[in-house]
């Protein structure tokens, strides 16, 4: 055998990992990218593989999620793609928990690499289980995974839930975000819009920015509320969406749902940029009325009472990040 010739299996294995690595990179770069892009790519991949090779031999004993997943893993095991003994599945009500020993996994290199680079990642194995469940159990399922660790079992949960339609998509001549027609504005165009309000009705500007974001954010919360089980997950998802739109990166620093207090940092505020560029205030001051409106709306929905937001630090003021404190109005 020619020693310089690449081992075919090894080459295929490397190609698969690098292909997924490429998808994760792309998902991180495209507007509104992120985990969902990787998930959609994986779904298409599973669908095609399943229909071309697996479907004729797929014989689950029932449409219970665990039986469906086991039938799929059995076939993959028989074909030599995995060792089914590396997988543990158990039910908890409607939830199916999956534990996987990572070191034998085909996708170990991919997961380890994207985890190190902090790129969007999904577990292709668990996602294929989710795909099978959705297509054979007669309802939609979602997958939630815990952060990958090279030394511990990979953990995920398949649970009933609709796929969140949130990605920037093209619909004929239009683009849509979460199913609604979207427009893309440069900060220059948005700045001119804001400046015009300031020139004609300066007393209204803060109110307009606050309320327009507040009320639209209430609707956003309603749209995703049913997909998650905890208020923190819902808010995390919504803030992540804002980040994926390229607007602001939020970081929840404190989250006390018992006393209803939170502290959120924000990086890269476009409002701070617009305020400074268009000279929308007489002296440096906190500028993120829309950020306040967004957070007040999300936390009001999450905690079931009127929550107000104060901006304690702001990039418009030269601070390295904006800082928002959330608390009940009644306090």
């Amino acid at each position: 055998m020619d020693e310089n010739k690449l081992d075919k299996d090894h080459f295929s294995f490397k190609s698969l990992n690098n292909l997924f690595w490429g998808i994760s990179h792309l998902a991180d770069k495209v507007p509104m990218g992120g985990k969902n892009y990787v998930e959609i790519a994986c779904d298409y991949y599973t669908e095609r593989m399943f229909n071309e090779y697996i479907k004729p031999i797929f014989k689950p004993v029932s449409t219970n999620v665990i039986d469906l997943c086991m039938a799929w893993l059995e076939i993959m095991d028989n074909e030599g793609f995995l060792d089914k003994n590396d997988y543990q599945l158990y039910n908890e009500g409607d939830y199916t928990h999956i534990r996987v020993a990572p070191h034998n996994c085909t996708y170990f290199e991919y997961c380890a690499a994207v985890n190190k680079e902090d790129l969007p990642v999904v577990c292709p194995r668990m996602l294929s289980c989710k795909w099978i469940a959705t297509n054979y159990a007669g309802r939609q399922y979602q997958l939630k995974t815990e952060t990958f660790s090279e030394t511990e079992l990979c953990r995920g949960t398949i649970y009933p839930g609709e796929m969140i339609s949130e990605i920037l998509t093209r619909d004929g001549d239009n683009i849509t975000i979460a199913g609604e027609r979207a427009i893309v504005l440069s900060t220059n165009a948005f700045g001119i819009l804001v400046k015009t309000i300031y020139d004609y009705a300066p007393h209204l500007l803060e109110r307009v920015l606050y309320e327009s974001t507040y009320y639209s954010s209430l609707l956003e919360y309603d749209k995703v509320e049913s997909y998650y089980n905890s208020d923190r997950d819902i808010i995390g998802h919504l803030l992540n969406t804002v980040h994926r739109l390229g607007n602001i990166r939020y970081e929840i620093m404190e989250f006390d749902s018992v006393n209803k207090r939170a502290v959120v940092y924000a990086y890269g505020s476009y409002m701070a940029e617009i305020f400074k560029k268009n000279k929308l205030s007489t002296s440096p001051k906190t500028a993120c009325a829309s950020g306040k409106g967004r957070l007040a709306a999300y936390f009001t929905k999450a905690w079931g009472e009127e929550i107000v937001c104060e901006e304690m630090k702001c990039e418009a003021f030269g601070d390295e990040h904006c800082e928002f404190t959330l608390l009940p109005k009644r306090l």
Partner: protein, 240 residues
């Protein structure tokens, strides 16, 4: 402490009259009858102060701090985080019983008020400038003799100027003799006089900057209305 910056009221229309803004150490008198909107203007001034990251001391003479806190919430500022951060301090010069360390019993002399005010100022974070509002100074002066008032007044404002603190004193027309206003007017850099204009049947709120010590500010008459969420809206702003 940040230097070189100037301060504004946070009310478009008034701010455009003061050009480059007020220097720190400026003294402002807001004068007018009850119900004209002096405390609303003060609430907006608090909001502006905190948005500019300055410290704020609010001396409550006409209502308890608890009511002022609710009032501030109405105009879009929740005082709690700022109080926790030590950036907003209320002095209670209203309640009959002591309510905390920043309590001033109205029967005490003005000298005692001065020492409390100094103590509160010294306790503020000196990385940021401080603004102090007395709502209303005329209530603090009630029942005191003219000489005590004038001595206190002169000494206090001189001290605040020296410390670079912007002071805003609210004065209710009916409480003090007009002569007291005249006597103290020269101590202030800016006086905003609020009054009713128009007919008896349809009065319109108006204000003008009655006195600008430096003479560098415009003293146009401004008509205004009060919105329950925004505060003072200068009508000139409504027509562009």
């Amino acid at each position: 402490m940040r230097t070189g910056k100037t301060a504004f009221f946070g009310i478009n229309g008034i701010d455009s009259l003061i050009g480059e803004g007020l220097s720190y150490g400026s003294q402002i008198m807001i004068k007018g009858k009850s119900g004209l909107g002096k405390s609303v203007l003060a609430a907006q001034f608090v909001k502006e102060t905190l948005a500019c990251r300055d410290n704020c001391i609010y001396v409550c003479c006409d209502e308890a701090p608890r009511e002022m806190r609710e009032y501030l919430k109405q105009y879009g500022i929740h005082p709690w985080p700022y109080e926790q951060a030590g950036r907003l301090v209320f002095v209670d010069a209203y309640s009959l019983e002591p309510t905390g360390k920043n309590y001033f019993p109205s029967e005490d002399g003005l000298e005692k008020y001065l020492s409390l005010e100094k103590e509160v100022i010294n306790g503020m974070n000196h990385d940021s400038p401080t603004r102090i509002i007395i709502d209303s100074l005329s209530t603090l002066f009630l029942g005191r003799d003219d000489q005590e008032i004038m001595e206190f007044h002169r000494y206090r404002l001189k001290l605040l100027k020296k410390s670079g603190i912007i002071s805003m004193d609210l004065m209710v027309d009916e409480i003090l003799e007009e002569s007291m206003f005249k006597l103290s007017a020269h101590l202030y850099d800016v006086i905003i006089n609020m009054y009713y204009s128009g007919s008896m049947e349809r009065p319109i709120r108006a204000l003008h900057m009655g006195k600008m010590k430096s003479g560098k500010f415009d003293s146009s008459q401004l008509f205004f209305t009060i919105d329950s969420n925004i505060g003072l809206i200068i009508m000139q702003n409504l027509v562009g």
